[in-house]
């Protein structure tokens, strides 16, 4: 068994083990969950050095025939696009599981679903067989449904089924795209690499239709406006740790799918779609930011800011330049880290105060210095303060979009990319406004006596959040090591797509 299979399958083994142990042994369940996810994380770290940064193609490939009569393979591998996301997933899962130790209700089931979820997510990132990809894609939904529906907030049942039906609806399009590709390719195959290599078979009307099908399938996950309506509800109702995974990893599955499948398989359609994608990115950025500003619930605010932040990644992707692509992948990672820590931090406050209303607090800065410090840093990173992680990737996305070679124009003579990129900067402004307002209302001002017995963060919470804070700072100061992982893959991807024109 190769390292990738170990990374992917360790969590599910842990889940089965949890199922076999009686539900009274709560401590044992927590232990197994943390050990299984930690092992998975360590395996993914173990290949950090041996991962060759010069090779743009797939590494650590493992290929086993699974259903030969249908041509389905167990085919996994990683490249500069998927490896950072695998690292992000395993890291966030470990931290989320630690953050979930305060779950008291039905502990056994909780960790069972959580570990199953991790396998689903990792499976999507490492799959190189389109069919396998789809299976992991679907497998992931069920644990998420239960995690939101059982341990969520007051409207959890509605949020769970809405999330489930919405994403299932998206995968309908994906499944049709997969089957159409299979029968169009000659010889028939589900192998993503071979499909990519033979993408000249998918040009013309067929290519456009299937591109749009796959795009809708992925866009619902991102979520791209107007498919975003499931997100605020699911994020707000989900328990803290699940929100972290939802925002940190699940949203990236959409953008990952576009970069892995939609773009390289249909370069012609993708380039044609660059301007619509640009406009969608612009809407995501500005709309997400403005709606986030209107929120008084902190969790809802962070949820809407996710729409805004994924907009930056879409902006980078729409540019079809190396800078933009690097920026987009880096933005996916950074958003996972920063928004993950924001959700954890909001959860910390909610556990103590049982409210997330921004206006209910005030002057907490002096009372909870550690909490206030970390929260402020995460917010600053999220609004794109230079020196912190968010700035680097947002800057790269904007730069990529601004320097796009596209000749498209809008409103007469104005170059479309320059125009929309420039206007999108409003998003940054609004983001800064609502994060600063939150910091002001919660941490500064007159102390609200109601919260006089609030305690600062305890050891477990620090263990869950501090690694993310350190990473935020570190990537902000030295992003090179992360960009080097993805650079060669991104550069070959950009050449592959634009060269096909």
């Amino acid at each position: 068994m190769s390292t990738l299979s170990l990374i992917t399958l360790t969590p599910v083994l842990g889940a089965i083990l949890i199922l076999l142990i009686s539900k009274e042994k709560v401590f044992l369940h927590r232990l197994i969950a943390v050990v299984a996810s930690l092992l998975s994380f360590l395996f993914s770290i173990a290949i950090f050095c041996s991962f060759d940064r010069q090779i743009p193609g797939m590494q650590f490939v493992e290929k086993i025939s699974w259903i030969p009569s249908m041509g389905v393979q167990y085919f996994v591998g990683i490249d500069g696009l998927s490896y950072p996301l695998v690292l992000l997933t395993t890291l966030l899962t470990v931290l989320s599981i630690i953050a979930s130790f305060n779950i008291q209700n039905r502990v056994k089931e909780y960790f069972f679903w959580f570990l199953l979820l991790e396998t689903g997510m990792l499976g999507v990132f490492v799959s190189l067989d389109f069919f396998l990809f789809y299976i992991f894609w679907e497998v992931m939904l069920v644990p998420m449904y239960f995690l939101i529906g059982i341990w969520g907030g007051p409207r959890r049942e509605y949020a769970a089924i809405k999330f489930f039906l919405y994403t299932l609806f998206g995968s309908v399009f994906l499944l049709i795209a997969i089957l159409a590709l299979y029968f169009k390719s000659d010889p028939h195959t589900f192998d993503i690499l071979q499909l990519t290599a033979r993408n000249s078979q998918f040009i013309g009307k067929f290519g456009f239709v299937v591109f749009l099908l796959s795009f809708i399938g992925f866009a619902i996950k991102v979520p791209v406006f107007p498919f975003h309506t499931w997100l605020p509800l699911a994020h707000v109702e989900a328990p803290t740790a699940v929100s972290v995974i939802l925002a940190g990893v699940l949203l990236k599955l959409g953008t990952y799918g576009m970069m892995r499948i939609s773009f390289p398989l249909f370069p012609e359609a993708a380039l044609w779609f660059a301007v619509p994608l640009l406009i969608l990115a612009f809407i995501n950025i500005v709309y997400g930011a403005f709606v986030a500003m209107a929120q008084t619930d902190m969790k809802k605010m962070v949820a809407y800011s996710s729409i805004n932040h994924m907009g930056y990644a879409l902006l980078g992707m729409a540019s079809f330049t190396l800078t933009g692509f690097n920026g987009a992948v880096l933005q996916m990672i950074n958003h996972g880290i920063i928004t993950g820590s924001l959700f954890l931090l909001v959860g910390v406050l909610y556990d103590r105060a049982h409210t997330r209303d921004i206006n209910a607090f005030g002057g907490l800065g002096a009372k909870l210095p550690m909490y206030a410090g970390i929260m402020t840093l995460a917010s600053m990173a999220s609004l794109g303060l230079p020196g912190l992680a968010g700035f680097i990737s947002e800057f790269l996305c904007f730069l990529g979009a601004f320097t796009s070679p596209s000749q498209a124009t809008a409103f007469g003579q104005i170059p479309a990319f320059k125009l929309y990129t420039a206007v999108s900067v409003i998003g940054i402004l609004v983001t800064a406004a609502f994060f600063l307002r939150m910091i002001q209302k919660v941490f500064l001002g007159k102390f609200n006596e109601k919260w006089s017995d609030l305690k600062d963060m305890d050891f477990r919470e620090l263990v869950a959040i501090v690694p993310l804070t350190v990473l935020t700072l570190f990537i902000g100061v030295a992003p090179g090591w992360l960009i080097r992982i993805m650079d060669s893959t991104m550069s070959s991807l950009v050449h592959f797509i634009t060269g096909a024109k």
Partner: protein, 480 residues
Amino acid sequence: MESLRLLLPELFLSGAAMLLLGLDAFLKERKKCWVLFVSFLSLFITFLLLMNHPETGVAFGMLVTDPFSHFFKILAILSAGLILMISEKDPELMGENSGTYASLILFSVVGTMFLSSAKDLLLLFLGMELTTIPLFILAGFLKSDLRSSEGAIKFFLIGAFSTGLMLFGISYLYGLTGSTQFKEIYEWYNKSQLAGADGILFFLSILFLLVGLGFKLSLVPFHQWTPDTYQGSPTPITAFFSVSREAGVIVVTLRFFTEYLSRSEMGMTPFFALLSILTMTVGNIAALRQDNLKRLLAYSSIAHAGTILIGLVAGSPLGREGVMLYSLAYFLMSLGAFTVVIAISRIKGSEDISSLQGLAKENFPLALLMLFFLLSLSGIPPFLGFWGKFYVFWAAIEAKLFYLVVIALLNAVVAVYYYFRIVRKMFFQEPQVSSVGVSGVQKQFSLELTTLVVASLLLILGIFPQGLIAWIKGTATILP
């Protein structure tokens, strides 16, 4: 002699069914356990006979024994075995008249076996009657229950009516072509070019035949009897309904319409596609608002019949394989779900969705197994139900029936909603406090065993489907 040898499994099983009928008269009340033993043994022997029965051929020029029919015969025998297993502890079914009960099930299986082999309209008719007449009685087996009688009467009237229609169609066909053999009808059709009045008459007779089959398959708009009959019947029989009966009818429909009368020549593909779409959509939408589990599963079985029909519309060998895989998967998962319903109604004395409330807290393993069946029914990988669905879609895309796949997939999303209504009740809600067992919970060993076996089959075959798919590919051949 050759013909008799080919029919050995059918003959043996009929003999066993007669014997069981006799046992009822002679056995004393406390020796009724022999009934179960005899029926299991005879089913097992029939199974062995089928497995060691590699010859293919045509018996009496009317019954064809080919790998394709073998598959469905084995399916029918398996279903009968499992149905007997889950009826075991039921005092109303396996009590006083246990011999009758078992023999009726076996007779119905023999009917299905004939039906899967039929290549002659007369045998089609005969097989159909042999399958359904025992089911009329079985549906009304709970004599003291008004609903059971109502369901049985409805089923009987509709059954008789549809058989009449079918027979009418058959008589026309015979008048036109001078034969009841599928093959000769096909040859006549090829020769005659359907000029003038003959063409209209031929089309009408095919339509009558199709309406008859449609009633049996509970395709929309011929489905009205299904929910009442499903709800009224004893639950094991409800499970039996959705498998045994449909399997035989599907085989004969496939044989007649795709092998002999290629529909594309007759321009019937749109017609079949329309039936499929109607059946899926109406079944699913009606299932959305059901509160009785059996009724819900009845409507969902209508929807599944519509999806299976897609494989038939595709008409290719791939479509045939899809129908086979789907039938097997559907048989396992619906049987599993019905078994859970039996277990629940024995504990709670109710078959409403609300009786499942909080099941995850009261009995986690049972809730988990039910979840498996529901996930499989929804077509979520890696359960076998997903492969069944995927395979028919595969065949449809290959046949370029994109619109059909899109509609079927949207239907699948609707179906998830009502399956997950049950999941929600089981996992998200607290158990009802007042729900004390009605008559003290009996040991339900046979039920537990059945659900466990079925669920693990669904999961294992779902993760490693290669063996099953290869087997189905091998058995999908049809003899001319």
